[in-house]
Symmetry: C2
Subunit: 317 residues, 2 copies
């Protein structure tokens, strides 16, 4: 059993850098291991404490994540850093559990059609696999958090509207499978803030003060507005990526994950102290320019810089 | 006296295309008159009903707006279209009142420093000028709406924080000067949604159901989130521009006005029927590409397209 509240304290907004995993999922090139380590180190120095580091997949098939153990080690070298890795099956989870990674993300889709298209399993099969991952964790006597990311929670590119009841049923099923935590993903960037607020209200009703993740994509420009709505609705754990890295397979050229730098600005202007130096985060973008010169970097704050004359930062209590 | 409620009915979200004025304020090139007319016609066909058409300035000094009368005529040719023009002084207002334009925007800044830097007048002098514009309108026996745009209402690039009390005092002063309507402008894109919600709440308390404009820039990526907050707070008149045209003189390369296409998506997902065909709006961007090939076009929806499989549009009651 994992101690969720220690990793995700109730009085902190947790901004998780998922650029090293979700951000690199579809890029034409990717940073070297040394560059990934530098990415972690520089963002840690800027105040980021949560890093999704990669995916446990066969290294020969998915070379971009072959160095996932090195990135986990880089995160683990920082006292307050928390590493998260994706594992799509028991084999991946076994490998992940052999490392110091603090959290394993498993995935199931809120839409049957997408689940089958994505991993060639039914939702039931995915839930059984998730239960097995939890069992592996327990047998290993580890306190690694098992977090179920529920894909297509706000609409599905294959099956369209996803009823809230379906999402909440899947939340229940994931907890029945033994996970410590769940996340709701707007995988294809369909959501608007009203939808986010509505589902987050149901999450709070269901989970009380147990944290959950909101994973947003900015595919249709709603990323920051959706994060704002989720914050208003009590959510406190957010995924984001440097420069909005991480496109959409269904929309070439589209924006990716919600932009980390812009999200920091939002969160601070809403009165939450992040402890993050947004200018240092912006400066870290040069690493992406060097490592992946062909990738489009997104984000407005990096263009304009934070206001020089105004007190936009939240004040520490 | 103008009939505000006829132009801005209480049950409609008014999305005003300001690309033809604010959007063209700083561009290296600008569309021909024929292209501007086509821009109006295509967006009208797509459902846009409010157009800021240009500025009444000496044509030899500001050639980009020399054809403002032609654009007003193009708007006036459409039965349901409402034209808005900027006038910075009595001379401009006199010229504007000689046309069919439905609304004249006058400007004063919430910040004394910015007012003086922007128009070389004190706020008091600007207010006196505004009163004179109202007098001209009354003497002309016209029902043209006089709308005072209050610049830097959410923070000033020169003087920093702008207290809400200063903004609300300026709102009062504008109404004392006789204007029919006011707008609050986040001129340099400093605002976050909390600030927007707070000031909009004060506006509602002060104005009741009298409409007011929120004019947002996306300079720091908060444009859509701010619009969402303003909608939640009862605002129903919004400025926006096709492809987010309209940069920031203080931040080269920065994004401009909030993106019209993305705003339409937001408003529909929040349950308000706009009557606007967002795909037709997106298609109109090709006109900008032809007219101003060097300008960067912004906006996420244009990249990804609206969701194909999901019912994202608001349902008519």
């Amino acid at each position: 059993m994992a101690d969720i509240y220690k990793t995700y304290p109730q009085d902190r907004i947790a901004l998780r850098e998922v650029g090293l995993r979700d951000g690199l999922q579809l890029t034409k090139s990717w940073p070297s291991t040394a560059q990934k380590v530098e990415w972690v180190n520089r963002e840690y120095a800027a105040g980021i404490r949560y890093f999704e580091v990669g995916s446990f997949l066969p290294a020969d098939k998915v070379p971009r994540f072959a160095d996932v153990r090195d990135v986990i080690a880089a995160v683990d070298a920082h006292e307050e850093a928390h590493g998260i890795a994706l594992a799509l099956n028991q084999r991946g989870a076994t490998d992940a559990l052999a490392t110091a990674v603090g959290e394993i993300t498993v995935v199931v889709s809120a839409s049957q059609a997408h689940n089958e298209a994505n991993v060639r399993r039914t939702q039931e099969q995915s839930l059984a696999e998730i239960a097995n991952v939890v069992k592996l964790r327990d047998e290993a006597g580890k306190n690694t958090i098992i977090n179920a990311g529920i894909a297509m929670a706000f609409g599905c590119s294959l099956s369209g509207d996803v009823p809230e009841d379906d999402v909440m049923r899947m939340v229940d099923r994931c907890f029945e499978a033994g996970v410590d935590m769940v996340g709701l993903a707007d995988t294809v960037g369909y959501a608007g803030p009203r939808q986010i607020a509505s589902l987050c209200a149901r999450m709070e009703k269901r989970l009380g003060d147990l944290p959950y993740v909101i994973h947003l994509h900015d595919t249709r420009g709603m990323g920051i507005a959706n994060a704002s709505a989720a914050l208003d609705s009590g959510c406190r754990v957010f995924d984001a990526s440097l420069a909005g890295l991480g496109g959409c397979p269904f929309a070439p050229g589209a924006t990716g994950n919600v932009v980390l730098e812009d999200l920091v600005y939002l969160v601070e202007t809403k009165g939450f102290v992040t402890g993050i130096d947004v200018e240092q985060i912006v400066a870290t973008r040069d690493l992406l320019t060097q490592a992946m010169p062909d990738e489009t970097l997104h984000g407005a704050l990096a263009q304009a810089g934070p206001p020089k004359s105004m007190n936009w930062r939240a004040q520490a209590a």
